[in-house]
């Protein structure tokens, strides 16, 4: 078996899940763009507004003329797709490069007569293959799903697919470079995601400031440079591929100059510190501390950025109708409240992702043998999982309070409206029940079986889908309401109702309790 095939075999579940979600997202949404704007007049108004609006420009880039359904799709959904693609590229690249080195599997393979450059070459080959499958999948999904959608052509669909593939390729190659620099896999992942954040910021400010050159420097600006369904610029895709190849070559160069298992950056591995803790909660807090800090900074930054960009949208929904993705998000009611609710839904999604990851750490510890150690010093069987859930819930609260406070300070300066600060804070903190319910699902699954714990992403994905695309996809409201997100009432509006939030918290508590009880009725899991 070649090393490349070994990598595919090892990561096939994760890769298939990502590919399925991303192609499904393209194929499932493209046709809804035909129906979103019923009349030509409505569409023109929306296009004019979207082209003028600063926040839409920051979020999605600039909408090219004439703004037909295909261009709308590329502009809005394409922006979401390119971010997801970039995140996928970072996670997959680290998993097949540094993570495999840190866990010792590459060492084993290198000891079997595999040439020292082979692991990196195989990883790059795998990533190229994934990029191709992703590109073909997204292109075909758009081409097939959008047969009757105005402006969708096969030539454009192919460029759209190629753009997605090239975005994946560039971010992967960049992450491969960072993986040579970082001291550990975790650090490489962090650097890669920071790079994606920076790419988004560069693109956003380039587009907002009409600095095309700047926005095209960003891997996330490729979609705007290639303009599928408008200009179909193949050379832009070609340049991106060349950049990817150059970065891959750089990764190779750096890889030759570093020690196996260590990055170019050294880390301090010695310190005089003591740990004063007596409970599993104390331990879980200490172990999760650095990741909580990183999440708090990232979520607060995203939340503050979104809130600060709201002025245009709010004014726009006060004057005319705002269609498409953003329009479907905002709905009716007080424009400022609607916008803040939308921003904080995004915050809620991020916090729920943190909740799932954080609870799943319990499962990770169990399979890795750390829970054995803890239980063997007299800790009760249910305590490690319960502690992890408690620390997760508290961590979510910390992230949301910090995000809410920051938004409450920034939003009133840019958004006109009543009680903007109160609303900004309450919409952020109001995401906590959704996070608790998500954590509860993860706790129950982990409690029932460490092997099933990964299914905790299912309720998360469903809630996210309902919240972001529910209206666009025409999912009935009574089903959308089953999602954990978008239940936060407008506290400054007439008679705010918080029943849904109480239900979510109660659900989280009950599921967590059941999960903790379930652990006591099963064997500890080992890999």
């Amino acid at each position: 078996m070649s090393f490349t095939r070994l990598l595919i075999r090892r990561h096939r579940a994760t890769l298939s899940a990502w590919l399925l979600v991303l192609t499904g997202l393209c194929g499932g949404t493209v046709s809804s763009y035909q129906n979103t704007y019923a009349t030509e007049q409505q569409r023109r108004t929306a296009v004019a507004l979207a082209q003028e609006d600063r926040v839409s420009t920051l979020l999605y880039g600039r909408l090219p003329d004439p703004g037909n359904a295909a261009q709308m799709f590329t502009w809005e959904l394409g922006a979401i797709l390119s971010i997801l693609t970039a995140v996928m590229a970072v996670l997959v690249t680290v998993a097949v490069t540094r993570a495999a080195e840190d866990d010792g599997t590459i060492e084993l393979v290198r000891g079997c007569g595999v040439a020292h450059r082979r692991p990196l070459h195989s990883a790059l080959a795998l990533l190229t293959g994934v990029a191709l499958v992703l590109g073909v999948g997204c292109g075909a999904a758009v081409g097939l799903g959008g047969g009757h959608v105005e402006g969708v052509t096969w030539a454009g669909a192919i460029v759209f697919g190629a753009t997605t593939a090239a975005t994946f390729l560039v971010v992967s190659a960049l992450t491969a470079v960072l993986a040579q620099v970082a001291a550990t896999a975790g650090q490489a992942r962090m650097l890669g995601l920071t790079a994606v954040g920076a790419s988004f910021a560069v693109r956003a400010f380039g587009d907002a400031g009409q600095l095309d050159a700047l926005s095209r420097l960003s891997p996330l600006g490729l979609r705007a440079a290639a303009e599928p369904f408008s200009a179909d610029r193949w050379w832009a895709v070609g340049l991106a591929v060349l950049a990817g190849v150059a970065l891959a070559a750089l990764a190779q160069l750096l890889s030759d100059r570093r020690e196996f298992g260590a990055g170019l950056v050294r880390r301090r591995d010695s310190r005089d510190s003591r740990l004063r803790l007596r409970t599993p909660v104390g331990l879980a807090t200490r172990i999760g501390r650095s990741s909580l800090l990183a999440w708090t900074v990232a979520v607060a930054a995203v939340g503050a950025l979104l809130s600060s960009m709201g002025a245009g949208t709010v004014r726009q929904s006060q004057t005319g109708d705002l269609g498409g993705f953003l329009g479907s998000q905002l709905g009716t009611g007080d424009p400022a409240a609607a916008y803040l609710a939308y921003c904080n839904t995004v915050v809620g999604i991020l916090v729920c992702a943190y909740a799932v990851l954080s609870v799943l750490a319990a499962q990770h510890n169990e399979r890795g043998g750390l829970t054995d150690l803890v239980l063997a010093v007299g800790v009760r069987r249910w305590a490690p999982l319960a502690a992890q859930t408690l620390v997760t819930a508290a961590g979510c609260a910390v992230i949301l309070v910090v995000t809410g406070t920051l938004s409450a300070l920034i939003a009133p300066m840019v958004i006109d409206g009543n009680q903007v600060a109160v609303r900004a804070f309450s919409y952020a903190v109001g995401q906590w029940p959704a996070a608790v319910a998500t954590a509860g699902c993860a706790t129950l699954l982990t409690g029932v079986s460490a092997r099933l714990a990964g299914l905790a992403w299912v309720p998360f994905a469903a809630s996210t889908l309902f919240a972001l695309l529910g209206n666009l996809l025409g999912i009935p409201h009574r089903i959308q309401d089953l999602g954990f997100l978008r239940h936060v009432p407008d506290v400054a509006g007439p008679n705010p109702r918080a029943e849904a939030l109480l239900v979510l918290v109660a659900l989280g508590l009950v599921l967590s309790f059941l999960g903790a009880v379930a652990t006591t009725r099963r064997d500890i899991a080992t890999d």
Partner: protein, 300 residues
């Protein structure tokens, strides 16, 4: 009769259709050092995990320090020190922080003993766990185990990553623990180590008990090996007389080699001395001889 520190009767543990442990029994006397032997995959670690309450037995009666670990796991493990076969620690913590965490969770600690053991094992506790080798991770677990004020030590192949000097230190620690009245259950493949420190052993194979008892008794029952060189021309005659005692004899040119049960050793030696044979050697049974025959297994 004294109460056993560990008493297992008729233990069965199944995972789906696979029976890892089948009608197994284990008795460990308090204050003893008990060796737990068996080939890889025989069910040693599974049994140990049942003793710690990490696995629930499918059937059988298990008592550890007088309690049932399936229902009183925390109460049992408060009084146990455990060193797993594969030591995983939190990679971001330093060795010292891991010791702090484990002692803090246990709620009892012997700081002086811990300091002494850290020095003896030459462990740099300021370094992060991620930089530790397997041996160093094992040292952290061993320091935590020996330093904790517990009654029973459950050690699952604890020395597989240690160098010979540390191995010797480890044996000293086990003897000290036993001298202090603590009980030790030692799962190990290192027969020399078992021979050096254990009073009694239990052998498991394919999940079943094959042999258990005090080492001295087992050795007594096992055959010693005697070799000698009778005067030339007398090899056949001497062999005949030895066979008369009921002993199996192999001859090889001018040498005789015989396997003799302990009670017959004086008589066999008498025959050889009487025949004025040269180069008489008598080797008592080694643990290898006792155990290795149990190690031949098929994959499972």
């Amino acid at each position: 009769m004294t109460e056993y520190a560990v008493r297992v009767e008729g233990l069965v543990k199944r995972f789906g259709t696979f029976t890892a442990v089948d009608e197994f029994a284990l008795n460990v006397s308090p204050g003893s050092v008990h060796g737990f032997l068996g080939p890889n995959g025989a069910g040693k670690s599974t049994t140990i995990r049942v003793l710690l309450g990490l696995y629930r037995p499918t059937a059988g009666r298990v008592r550890v320090l007088g309690l049932d670990p399936a229902t009183h796991a925390a109460a049992v493990t408060k009084r146990i020190s455990y060193v797993p076969g594969e030591v995983t620690l939190w990679p971001n913590l330093t060795g010292q922080e891991v010791l702090d965490a484990l002692a803090g969770l246990r709620g009892s600690r012997n700081v002086a003993a811990e300091k002494r053991l850290v020095d003896e094992f030459a462990l740099d506790t300021r370094r992060r766990v991620r930089t530790y080798s397997k041996g160093n991770r094992q040292k952290v677990a061993l320091v935590a185990a020996f330093a904790a004020p517990t009654d029973l030590l459950v050690l699952d192949e604890p020395t597989s990553g240690l160098d010979p000097l540390m191995e010797e230190l480890f044996q000293g620690c086990v003897r000290d623990a036993a001298a202090a009245g603590r009980t030790v259950l030692l799962s190990s493949h290192v027969l020399g180590e078992v021979e050096a420190v254990c009073d009694a052993v239990t052998i498991i194979k394919d999940g079943r008990l094959v042999e258990a008892g005090r080492l001295a008794d087992m050795r007594y029952l096992a055959a010693s090996t005697i070799t000698a060189r009778p005067l030339s021309g007398e090899v056949e005659a001497v062999s005949e007389r030895l066979r008369g005692l009921g002993v199996a004899v192999e001859t090889d040119a001018d040498t005789v080699r015989l396997s003799v049960p302990r009670p017959l050793v004086p008589a066999a030696l008498g025959v050889l001395v009487e025949a004025t044979a040269d180069d008489i050697t008598c080797t008592p049974a080694k643990l290898e001889d006792l155990f290795l025959r149990h190690y031949v297994v098929g994959a499972r």
